[in-house]
């Protein structure tokens, strides 16, 4: 149910995104989705790949500082209010969203969002209780590769 997301420290300067992306490319690792959080001076590149252990090893070997975080992929209906339903469920369970971003694929009327909760297990439990789809790794990878 949980995905492993990699986070990487970056200085907020021109060209600094290139090196890690290139390292992944050379290792034949495809980025499934990513986001960049930035402050004035530094940023964090967060991304999901299929073989996160290999990606971590590749990046660490090149001298990057990489952190592994558990995140959750949640199915969302692609219509007004689709996101609200998820957020209300999470909010009602007292779980906080640290950050979120989206997957680009869409299956019929459904897309997927990536969430980082302060309490991953409680977040997943709340979503499931409400019948909201939480995508497991294999399911997600299958969908991504089928598109």
């Amino acid at each position: 149910m949980k995905l492993h997301q990699l986070s990487l420290f970056l200085e907020n300067r021109p060209g600094h995104l290139i090196a890690p992306c290139k390292a992944l490319a050379e290792a034949g690792i495809n980025i499934l989705t990513l986001s960049v959080a930035d402050t004035q001076r530094f940023g964090i590149l967060r991304f999901v790949v299929r073989d996160w252990e290999k990606a971590k090893a590749v990046l660490t070997e090149r001298g990057h500082v990489v952190n592994v975080t558990e995140v959750v992929a949640v199915e969302v209906t692609d219509r007004p209010g689709g996101l609200v339903e998820i957020l209300e469920t999470i909010g009602a369970a007292g779980v906080n969203v640290d950050y979120m971003y989206a997957f680009t694929f869409k299956r019929g009327e459904r897309g997927a969002l990536l969430f980082r909760f302060d309490d991953t297990d409680r977040g997943i439990a709340a979503l499931k209780a409400k019948g909201i789809g939480v995508l497991g790794c294999e399911e997600l990878y299958r969908l991504l590769e089928a598109k």
């Binding site: 997301q5 420290f9 964090i44 967060r46 500082v65 990489v66 950050y99």
Partner: protein, 443 residues
Amino acid sequence: MTQSWNDGDCSFDPVSAPDFLPGDQLRALQLQRLKSVVNWAYPRVELYRKRMEETGLTPGDIRSLDDVRRLPFTTKKDLIDTYPFGLFASSMSDIVRLHASSGTTGRPIVVAYTQEDISVWAEVMHRSFAACGLHRGDIIQNAYGYGLFTGGLGAHYGAEALGATVIPMSGGNSDRQIMVMRDFGVTAICCTPSYFIHLIERAGELGVDVKKLPIRAGVFGAEPWTEGMRRRIQAESNIKAYDIYGLSEIIGPGVGIECCHQDGLHIFEDHFLVEIIDPASDRPCKDGEEGELVLTTLSKRAMPILRYRTHDITAIIPEPCKCGRTIRRIQRIARRSDDMFIIRGVNVFPSQIETALLAAEGTLPHYQITLTRDKGLDQIEVQVEVTPDLFGDKIGALEGLQNKLESSLERTLGLRADVRLVEPHTLARSEGKARRVKDLRNL
């Protein structure tokens, strides 16, 4: 002795008489005082006695001024190792004042004064002010920090001895400094040169033109500065900017001062014996040759200091000065032989930065220090390489880390430093002794 005196258009202050002693009389006085200080220190300070015994030297062996070279050096490390009172040569009942340096390598250096020492200090500061043409009737704004730092009280006592009106502002609160400068008709100011530049700029923002105020002189020290800064200060404020030299270990401010000719700093040689040595070989340098300044206190009793390695690089200026003073001059000090840097009047060692970083996170990341000067104010930026231990996935955690490091630095250094988190392996690594400090201030 006053016939050679030429301090521009200001009147002669009798306190300056020793500045004009004929050379042979000055040297005789120095020798007498050197013998006396060694005689005083030897039985009272274990460190000096032990070191002299190691080389078989006794106070009686000091027969000429050149014999000073037979005495052991004293280093900053000695002062740290003997913290707090190990080099005191007077009992507490005779010591009337303690000061402490701005915590150089974790532990501060403590210095002590007897009543006579305080008088000597006031005298050399009085002579300093007189050399820059200040006198009774002047209104002196003292913006050096008061407290453990020697700058504030050193300047204060000297200015009072001069007979001037002293405004004990201490540092900081620029708007108030400017108000006082304008409203009180201040004629001279004491502070760090970078702070004065800041005051000029701030005054401009407040609509005060320093050029139109009565202020005519500034006595600037406690940090390295340049001719370029002097030109700027003088052009933008229409004052004469004088360089003053001193260090707490020796006495505080007032070891040397520029006269109205602003061409090198006269050392008060009747109280401080000057040597210039090659810092690598310890051999004496010839006049005019650059080397490390080594100072011996000739009059101090609470804490006599023999051959102190200042790490300041300078040279004796052999030519006589136009002012007629016979006490010799040294060149303006522009650099140091060690890693220590002076920022906003505070001595900082890279090791202190290490201590602060270590204290904050329990690990020591690779770091580099960059010094810059922004609008006349010195800035420290500490670049810290992010390590897996330090890196969290959340922005808030990284900002928290940055703040934690910054507050630890501020606690340790007593001044604000910016922390910039950088990617690993981006800072230069050098073989052997790491060059931790990148000084971009163009000093």
